[in-house]
């Protein structure tokens, strides 16, 4: 064509730093999320070593507080959320028949801000102490008076930066799903995983700004001497809890809804049946999201809200069990009478159902306000949320990764090793957390560094720790599986499970850079399955073959995030006394902050001055398989 823009192709590391391709960004999220998941896992093991026996002094009380804080924070914000984003990025554009997300540049920016926020947070380990006030950072514990190191500053500023990335990602997915669906894909024909991504993104949009404000207020209290949460200055510590949980409870649905979506894809595929009650699944998802915003104070029953408030929040919380129950039954009815194949992916999906139900049941127990006065801040709560987050979300992630791995990399993970992973992880999980229900009921508090012997805590804690090791073994098996698989050639067919139902299975594995040579025409729910049933092997195209427009790779998102990272560090140390005059000058006068902001805004200005015209892939170059191996 006449206007062949000469495109700059980066290679090696620069390729990854500059990419705006959703499939590569998915891999970046996978690697980074996996890395932080590993760190969070090591922290968990250290916690369990400390609690393995009574009166242990494996770590000091201070380090223990840092470990539990960083474990929770890392796992939720830097481990599982990015892994969810990895799967969403890899799958959603393919499921809706799009060539990319609505804003590829922002997609890259979202990833890099998450990564640099996470790195900042973890730098705390080597720069004078990690956050130590729990992942909920309750005030006044997280105020300067009780938390005197820079730990909580790393928490507020690191999470702020990472949260920015999440928000950007959420808006991007919403816009993508609203505007970029293939012709014929109405909302009620969208695959369930796309639906849950859509709703999850909406929750992100309405929940994250609340924590943004909370983190700003806490930063102001700690760095500028503001009085939001300081009683002596007229502030109110319970205000923090309200702000935190009005974000925090929806956050747990940000975590679990994508897992619901994954399960709703995997179970029908491996049952050779369409998802039972598709529309009720959609409405249940929406209802859960809505109710999720109404129940935050069930985390605060013991702060003395009063009986009326407690009763209302208690009832609204229990209501969530109704749409959740609908989902559970729909999965069971999908399997009912199906030709079930227990692949590794499906084992994780089927294992998800009962464990998640158990987490839900303990949730309803906790939602009963009078009972919660007994359960609150004990290991019963720890058991509850690990049943839903690990037994729910992490099993869902494993299922999704086994399921979509061939699509992402063109290689099927070893089924044998996958099944071993499942059994080790599952048994380890039950050993670790089942007994914690009883520890909690017997009165063991959460967040304690040790306990006295002969209170009936000894044996159960040992069991729990052994289980944790076993889960670690399961994760290592998964890593081994990845390494072995990646050494094999990438020969997976388009539809490796042979019963793929949704659009992603209609294109090569891994997909070419432009995903769909021709935008497909969607004629029903489970669009690809429908075509297969009609005797076709491919989707009917909705457009002729033509030149495909692609966005250009750019290092600017990376540079912008580096700028934000520098500004964050500068702000954090702006009040410090350094031994060195130069350091004092550049930090105490906000010079570091300004340098960081100049980098970020400079990159933004570059972006706005030079429009990205992108480049084209011409029809004669469109038959190569996946661009990367």
């Amino acid at each position: 064509m006449a206007h062949a823009h000469s495109v700059k192709r980066y290679r090696g590391l620069m390729d990854w730093i500059t990419t705006v391709d959703h499939k590569k960004i998915a891999i970046l999220y996978l690697v980074a999320g996996g890395f932080f998941f590993g760190i969070g896992g090591i922290e968990a093991i250290l916690i369990r070593i400390q609690l393995m026996k009574p009166m242990n002094n494996f770590v000091s009380a201070q380090v223990f507080n840092e470990l539990i804080t960083m474990h929770g924070t890392t796992m939720i914000f830097l481990g599982v959320m990015p892994l969810i984003f990895a799967i969403m990025n890899a799958v959603v554009p393919l499921q809706i028949g799009a060539r990319d997300v609505a804003f590829p540049f922002l997609n890259a920016l979202g990833f890099w801000t998450f990564l640099f926020g996470g790195l900042l947070l973890n730098l705390s380990w080597v720069m004078g102490g990690a956050p130590d006030a729990g992942w909920t950072s309750y005030t006044p514990l997280s105020g300067s008076e009780y938390s005197g190191t820079h730990g909580v500053d790393f928490y507020t500023i690191g999470l702020q930066i990472a949260g920015l990335g999440t928000l950007i990602g959420g808006i991007n997915f919403l816009a993508t799903i609203i505007t970029m669906r293939a012709p014929g894909m109405s909302y009620m024909r969208m695959p369930m995983f796309t639906w849950t991504t859509f709703i999850t993104s909406a929750i992100i949009l309405f929940a994250f700004p609340a924590i943004t404000v909370g983190l700003v207020l806490l930063t102001f209290d700690r760095i500028l001497g503001a009085n939001f949460f300081d009683v002596a200055g007229g502030g109110n510590p319970v205000l923090w809890q309200h702000i935190f949980w009005i974000f925090g409870h929806p956050e747990v649905y940000i975590l679990i809804l994508p897992a619901f979506g994954i399960i709703s894809e995997v179970i029908p595929t491996f049952s050779r049946k369409r998802l039972f009650g598709y529309s009720s699944m959609v409405f249940a998802t929406i209802l859960i999201a809505f109710l999720g915003f109404m129940v935050w104070a069930h985390h605060m029953f013991t702060t003395g809200l009063g009986n009326v408030a407690n009763a209302l929040f208690s009832i609204s919380t229990m209501l969530i069990a109704v749409p959740t129950g609908i989902k559970i039954f729909n999965w069971l009815f999908t399997m009912w009478g199906g030709q079930i194949r227990f692949t590794a992916a499906n084992l994780f999906a089927v294992g998800f159902v009962p464990t998640f139900v158990m987490g839900g049941v303990t949730g309803v127990m906790l939602a009963s306000a009078p009972a919660d006065f007994q359960f609150h801040d004990t290991y019963f709560v720890v058991a509850h949320f690990h049943y839903v987050i690990v037994g729910g979300l992490v099993l869902g992630l494993f299922s999704g990764l086994h399921y979509w791995w061939p699509k992402m990399f063109g290689r099927i993970l070893s089924e044998t090793l996958g099944k071993w992973t499942f059994w080790t992880f599952m048994i380890g999980f039950q050993l670790t957390f089942f007994v914690q229900h009883f520890l909690g009921l017997m009165g063991m508090q959460r967040r304690i560094v040790t306990y006295l012997p002969n209170q009936d805590f000894d044996l159960l804690n040992l069991v729990s720790s052994v289980g944790a090791f076993l889960m670690g073994v399961g994760v290592i098996m998964f890593l081994v599986n990845i390494v072995i698989t990646m050494r094999k050639p990438a020969g997976a067919p388009n539809d490796p499970w042979e019963d793929g139902r949704t659009l992603e299975w209609s294109i090569p594995s891994p997909p070419p850079e432009y995903n769909f040579k021709q935008t497909p025409l969607v004629r029903g729910i489970d669009a690809y399955w429908k075509e297969k049933m009609a005797g076709h092997t491919e989707m009917t195209p909705a457009e002729p073959v033509g030149s495909i427009h692609m966005p250009s790779a750019t290092p600017l998102p990376f540079v912008m995030s580096v700028g934000i990272f520098i500004a964050g560090l500068g702000l954090m140390f702006s009040k410090d006394e350094f031994g060195n005059a130069f350091m004092n000058v550049i930090f105490n006068n906000y010079i570091v902050v300004i340098i960081g902001l100049v980098i970020t805004f400079g990159a933004m200005a570059l972006r706005s001055l030079y429009d990205d015209h992108g480049w084209h892939i011409e029809p004669e170059d469109q038959d190569e398989k996946g661009a990367r191996t």
Binding site: N227, G233, G234, S608
Partner: protein, 208 residues
């Protein structure tokens, strides 16, 4: 044509140039969504302010501090700037680039005027009323809420300024039109937020 000034009109531009391309429509939708998030952000700040506005910690109270004529003037300026940004969009829909740039320019100048009054107000409080960030929970909440809004105004000024530059460099096209449109939406949004601040912070502070 009976237009008094001889501005060339770009009549190749579609009627609603901001919605002419997929990129443009994506931008508009994403921006509506973004404003949804901003609403939660300001909602949380308002909730915090309402919770803490009585907590003056022996420092100055709202009633002692606020000088309504000044705030009313600032409000008036900001409301007018919303109007001028509407004129800007009308000029855009007629394909008149210069008129568009002019109205945007006036909007920016009014924004700067508003910001100047706010800075003066803060300066007065800190300098003469001993009312700073650390004085009380009320002061912290006041400066954070009003300051966040002020920072949004400042950002808008820079942003719209850059867009005016782009209009001269690249002209009024289907690429620049969505940017103009979105920045005008943003400007209306911060205007609406200010109306709430005027009511909840200042009026309520004087009477309640």
């Amino acid at each position: 044509m009976t237009t008094s000034h001889a501005e060339p009109v770009n009549d190749k531009l579609p009627h609603e140039p901001e919605k002419a391309t997929l990129e443009g429509r994506n931008k508009l939708i994403a921006f509506w969504l973004f404003l949804g998030g901003e609403t939660v952000l300001f909602g949380t700040l308002f909730a915090t302010f309402l919770a803490l506005r009585g907590q003056t910690n022996d420092g100055p109270t709202a009633n002692e501090l606020f000088h309504l004529p000044l705030v009313a003037a600032a409000t008036f300026i900001l409301l007018v700037s919303s109007l001028t940004s509407v004129f800007a969009i009308q000029a855009m829909h007629k394909g008149k680039r210069d008129a568009l740039a002019l109205w945007l320019g006036i909007t920016v100048v009014l924004g700067i005027g508003f910001l100047a009054l706010e800075i003066y107000e803060f300066y007065e409080y800190v300098k003469h009323k001993e009312f700073g960030m650390t004085t009380s929970a009320f002061s912290s909440a006041f400066y954070t809420l009003v300051g966040f809004h002020g920072a949004h105004v400042a950002f808008g000024i820079v942003w719209i300024g850059i867009i005016i530059g782009q209009l001269f460099k690249k002209g009024l096209t289907v690429v620049t039109a969505p940017k103009v449109y979105v920045s005008a939406m943003y400007w209306h949004f911060i205007d609406v937020v200010w109306v709430f601040i005027f009511t909840v912070v200042y009026l309520l502070g004087k009477v309640g």
